[in-house]
Symmetry: D2
Subunit: 206 residues, 4 copies
Amino acid sequence: MPDTAAVPLKAFALTCSLKSSPAESSAELLAQQVLDALAEHDVTGELLRAVDYNIAPGVETDMGEGDDWPQLRQKMLEADIFIIATPTWVGQMSSIANRIAERLDAELSEKDDEGRLLTYGKVAAVAVVGNEDGAHKICADLYQILNDVGFTLAAGAGTYWNGQAMGSVDYKDLDETPEAVATTTKTLAANAAHLARQLKAAKYPA
Amino acid sequence: MPDTAAVPLKAFALTCSLKSSPAESSAELLAQQVLDALAEHDVTGELLRAVDYNIAPGVETDMGEGDDWPQLRQKMLEADIFIIATPTWVGQMSSIANRIAERLDAELSEKDDEGRLLTYGKVAAVAVVGNEDGAHKICADLYQILNDVGFTLAAGAGTYWNGQAMGSVDYKDLDETPEAVATTTKTLAANAAHLARQLKAAKYPA
Amino acid sequence: MPDTAAVPLKAFALTCSLKSSPAESSAELLAQQVLDALAEHDVTGELLRAVDYNIAPGVETDMGEGDDWPQLRQKMLEADIFIIATPTWVGQMSSIANRIAERLDAELSEKDDEGRLLTYGKVAAVAVVGNEDGAHKICADLYQILNDVGFTLAAGAGTYWNGQAMGSVDYKDLDETPEAVATTTKTLAANAAHLARQLKAAKYPA
Amino acid sequence: MPDTAAVPLKAFALTCSLKSSPAESSAELLAQQVLDALAEHDVTGELLRAVDYNIAPGVETDMGEGDDWPQLRQKMLEADIFIIATPTWVGQMSSIANRIAERLDAELSEKDDEGRLLTYGKVAAVAVVGNEDGAHKICADLYQILNDVGFTLAAGAGTYWNGQAMGSVDYKDLDETPEAVATTTKTLAANAAHLARQLKAAKYPA
């Protein structure tokens, strides 16, 4: 039996804030916390902000000149764990997150030599922030999208923070991370790392 | 021109709490606040708790013996404004609200002499409470259902309260109604009453 | 009593296809059919494809240099009826439609002299196409967004076409418009025009 | 290394049709096809129709006298794979499926000696049918609910069939199972069985 606990893993996270770097972003803060929690499980992580790149509209893996998705996609394919972190606007994931979801549609046509999707065996996770409600709905939408295109979801695949109804406080402006959020993030990381190791050791049947 | 402002209207609200009367219910509290706000616009209201009735599963207007939906439906048909108030569980409307939505499917086959749905000209509104997020999503689901079966939605057709992420405070246990919620409820009532009067005076074309 | 039937109205439709003009678009076809149906009710329409414009990410009415949203927004504000037409990708509205939804968030801060949102009194409608399922969900999401930011939804505010599960036929490639779709589009137009006229004649209370 | 391929597994499926047995049910047909596909992977299955039982409203594991959920829950806890099969009404899962979702909320408080949820290590899957669109949305809602309460989702955790927009054909009335549906069901079964075996052999960390 391979000692899967010892296998190092890679995580790749895309923050889907509407603001370009280096503007502060609540979604980025939570994404970084997910990566920090994963680091405790021997997972090395990379975090990029999607809006800093030109992700062309379309449903091909590469939309041609000027499209930055191929380089982001490459990082996703090299990772064992893929994380989408998004703010909440009008109750929805950001249009940046939606754009990425759209680009993932192309994965349904990309298979390895044995007929498996290239995303098979990868674990996905979701981080949602918002000063108003929306996290459960956005997790639902992203779980469906990510699962449809081949990702696996470990128990507790989402972490999130929402303020009170009609509020205006942002996650990045909280005095400290609420304990319930920290615990949820920690559990997400432990479960995602565990499951990614299992799937790396024993692939889905072709 | 009929002085529509003077036309008295009727509202009927169904609270979709999981607990039978007289247990306290946050959804009922918000539903009552909607009716109170409507009263200021010459709208008389009735509020019932759906779980106190036996609403049979099915998609006919009357599922036969023991089905209480026909009497609730009658009140809905006599009202100008129909309100569904629901708590939030696992991010969704309650199964009681879902059951009512299901029964509304039958309205698609019920028409008046001129071929209009019986719900045409009626305005619907939604009230959602939860100690965690979910209101925008539940409004979305209910708006679609209510609109599909013939109800009209005035601007700002929903009022709601959600606590902070992973919280446990209930709406009924707040020291006072948050001002933003009170204002939202007030606007909902003003707009719903206004629109219901317009539609009563000038029906949709047959 | 103003003869509201004689008041000419304006409609503005944005198609949210991922493909720039002049590529064929199923969403555009359905949007055009909505405008054609509205024309029978004395509504003049304009149809633009959103992806042909640079709609910047953000939640202000104007994101500054290079942002084309202000000119599209101006057309929306001049119209009585606003239509969003979107294709379905991975079960969701397109990222272009999501981007527009996001920009609408700014309307919550824009009011007239009497304190009404600028969207008050305007009627919104939705058109969804997809070779797989998704229309009811996308209508739900868009109804919530549009209603939250001040639009009114007439009975039957959405028209749509979806192919059979796991299918690949596009709306634009059907031999003819299915009768049920044509009827739904016709009803949408009749109800939207009727309601927009009522709201133009009798505004929501300030 | 345990030869996980040889470990027999159990699946438990609940059909959430609105009609009591023995009425024909499209959801039941698809649920049975999922169990048949699982049988090829050494998974023995049991299929019950939820509406044949009295599942009380509430969010406790046992709502007391007359509540049949405890016996259904026991079967769920004894199974390695849990399947919810639901029809689509007004674009939503059935109220019966929603009721089950609600009852699952209680699992968040039920832990083993090491602090793990009792659902940890179990794999969930979803089957959706409808003569109109809705499957992606219902999968989204159910994935979120099931994942929130501790279930793991293998790649391709849902199988479904929807007819064309505004259609009326039922899955049970198709001449034969569409090949794309059969393939999706087969993949769901292969992946769910594989993942359930991995999780049985190597539990999530406590």
